[in-house]
Symmetry: C2
Subunit: 178 residues, 2 copies
DNA sequence: ACCTGAACACCGTTCAAGT
DNA sequence: ACCTGAACACCGTTCAAGT
């Protein structure tokens, strides 16, 4: 059922992911799905969390926690772009919940702690980094609102721009608070 | 019709904004609404753009364009928080379209130009600032995904955190490119 | 355990017709 | 110009019943 949902999403997009369409693809009646999942949002949560399994942990030989955060968020960004059709769902659900999201959050907090950022400030930094990453993926994925012309695919330039902003944020996060 | 929609939104939230509910509130049949607006998303676009009219332009006696951007984004953030129930819509629509959004974008681009940021880099900076501001409003507005405990209202601390990140971003944006 | 038939309570939108 | 009645083509979900 999860794989059928992902196929549907990949082939026909977000709006086509409907319990009824999913049932039809599985050659089953719509309500049969409720024997396997609590509801549509539970299904979506499972899909989103599954995608996060693709995020790569920073290389173990990295001694610099800030470089680790940089690497981790860049990987997350890449995974989001690779599943562009899901980005609006990540936005709507403000991330994901589930074991993979939990693990990702823990890794981020550990890296922040190693960088000397703890407690409330660490939780705030985590929020900012997630907002930035998911938000950027959303804008890279769909045309910007001032749509002036060409609709480009996620470009190397866009990725570079993401990296710049990420660097600015990380610098600020680990700099001494005012 | 627009005021009725805003009332519905304020009183009963996002999910209650339905063409049928709106029609009922206006004591009119659902399809009658289509004499006044092209469809539901057109209605939403009008509402979102209307909210942006509340954003205050930076004070005219500010000679520093970066301070102007700081002020402008802070005002935008405040307006978004004041309409928390609309933030998910801003996310979904990735901003707003309409005269007010247009004007806001133009002011931002003018300030960026005065700060020496033009062309593609200016458009990217605009995107980043919007992503950051809307994304932060979304996270300030609803519980974060790692929801560890208390659900706080948008706090002074959250606003301070927004300001910090905004400062980091602005610093990076106007610093010479690598 | 997992499915079906039937239904409930909704949606947004269109069309023809009325005033 | 602005409205209505009726309908279309959908949704997610529940319930009772079957195997």
């Amino acid at each position: 059922m999860l794989v059928a949902a992902r196929e549907l999403l990949a082939e026909r997009g977000l709006e086509a992911l409907t319990m009824r369409a999913l049932a039809e693809r599985l050659q089953v009646s719509p309500n049969a799905l409720y024997s396997h999942v609590a509801g549509k949002t539970a299904l979506i949560d499972e899909i989103l969390d599954g995608v996060l399994a693709e995020v790569e942990a920073p290389p173990a030989d990295l001694e610099d926690p800030v470089a680790g955060l940089d690497s981790l968020m860049a990987s997350t960004y890449g995974v989001l772009l690779a599943h562009a059709e899901l980005v609006p769902l990540f936005l709507a659900r403000q991330g994901a919940r589930g074991p993979n999201a939990q693990r990702l959050g823990d890794v981020m907090l550990a890296l922040l702690a190693r960088a000397g950022v703890t407690g409330r400030r660490a939780r705030e930094a985590l929020r900012v980094l997630l907002v930035y990453t998911i938000g950027f993926a959303a804008f890279a994925t769909r045309p910007p609102i001032e749509a002036s012309g060409a609709r480009e695919p996620p470009s190397a330039e866009m990725l570079a721009n993401f990296d710049s902003g990420l660097g600015w944020l990380l610098t600020g996060i680990v700099s001494p608070s005012r």
